[in-house]
């Protein structure tokens, strides 16, 4: 379904431009890490690429039919949605939407629960999980459909070291299995650990797009250099 081609995409709400115009080509291999100061439009960009924000102008086009593309991608939100069901049924939910039988969906969900480190918690109501466990559940629920592209919006925000480590392990594994990750983060250390490609966002535009090595060695724009040095970029 890749490459993903974005041309002149803009999102305006109530007369205010949140993001754009964005021109972007997403191809090759990931993970692609989206960084940038608060309010740069990281969340909006990811939601736009995923297709859950209405475009005000421009186009986002996949290399396949839109319906197929929608089916083969998933999104992990910064605040994961815990459905009022058991952990097992939360993870099984996307499969149930696809018409998979309850038994088969639950079996797969239990398999995924173990893979993300939620073994033994399958029967618990999702709402009693801790922050890190919730994010693991959200990951499993996103991965259960075996997506080709996975968007993640700051999945490790406000998590402690252990949980971040676990989640990064899952992400590395997922990436190695061929799922293209597109993930935003405000943690530069995490960006360095995971990135193959970096998108630096500023004021709602893609300020710089470069392979991770080049970007962290020497960004080509002054703002990106300042951001990497930890200065406040406005």
């Amino acid at each position: 379904m890749l490459p993903l081609k974005v041309t002149g995409a803009e999102i305006r709400r109530r007369g205010k431009r949140l993001i754009g115009p964005v021109d972007l080509l997403l191809d090759g291999s990931g993970p692609t890490i989206v960084i940038g100061p608060n309010g740069a439009g990281k969340t909006t960009l990811l939601r736009m690429l995923h297709g859950i924000e209405r475009l005000s102008a421009g186009e986002v086009s996949w290399a396949c039919r839109l319906e197929d593309a929608r089916q083969k991608q998933a999104f992990v939100f910064q605040m994961p949605v815990m459905m009022r069901r058991s952990v097992r049924d939360n993870i099984a939910y996307p499969l149930r939407l696809d018409g998979v039988s309850n038994r088969a969906a639950r079996a797969q969900a239990e398999d995924w629960a173990v893979r993300v480190g939620l073994a033994g918690k399958e029967g618990l109501p999702a709402q009693v999980l801790s922050g890190g466990e919730r994010q693991k559940l959200a990951l499993a629920r996103a991965l259960v459909r075996d997506p080709e592209v996975l968007f993640l919006d700051e999945p490790c925000a406000s998590l402690d070291g252990r949980a971040v480590h676990d989640i990064e392990e899952i992400l590395r594994d997922t990436s190695a299995r061929g799922t293209r990750l597109v993930m935003s983060t405000h943690d530069l250390g995490q960006a360095r650990r995971l990135a193959r490609e970096v998108l630096f966002l500023l004021h709602g535009r893609v300020h710089e797009q470069a392979p991770a090595g080049e970007f962290f060695e020497g960004p080509s724009t002054a703002e990106a250099r300042a951001f990497l040095k930890g200065e406040i970029v406005v």
Binding site: R70, F77, M83
Partner: protein
Amino acid sequence: MNDLWQGMTQAVWLLISLDADLVEISLRSLRVTLSALVIASLIALPLAALLTVRRFRFRRMVVALLNAFMGLPPVVVGLIVYVVLSRSGPLGVLGLLFTPWAMIIAQVIIIVPLIASIAHQSLRELWSEYHDLLISLGATRFQRIGTLILDGRRALLTAALAGFGRAIGEVGAIMIVGGNIDHATRVLTTAIALETGKGDFALALALGFVLIGLAIAVNLTMHWLGQTEREARW
């Protein structure tokens, strides 16, 4: 005071001896109201879910109307149903007037707005929580409604209970369309009104106790049914 005391003792005796009239009237009351509740829920709950997930032109107006209809005077509902079902009315050929069906129809009209309105309010909260996830997963409108009803079942049970409470205690409408005919359409509330008028406080009080008891019993049963997943707290 003496009247009251005598009435009370006789009422208790009627209850203990399972007086035939008392049992018959109580069962009929329960049958009519539970039928009305099932029918009303089948209409009101999907309607509430539809109003939640679907944005259409007159949505706000429908919601406002539902809220307004919550306060519909039962006597007026009875009058309208009477006119519609009477021999010369548009549905007169069905011959439903002065049958339990007429009473069920009247009660359905009275409690549908109540159930739909309460259900809509709680489903709206659930929807704002689930919205992004369900859109992201590509759930169809039908699936969205199903998910909301399933996961919001506790709140919906409360809405249904409110409907039951209103229907079982209702007297104005069913008096008009049912006619309070002995062994045919006499139910608890209409019988109480009649017996009080006749001065037979014993039977009236006994019926009153049964009415209160029924309301409590059904509430407890539904509450108990709603706790099928006991350890879950949501």
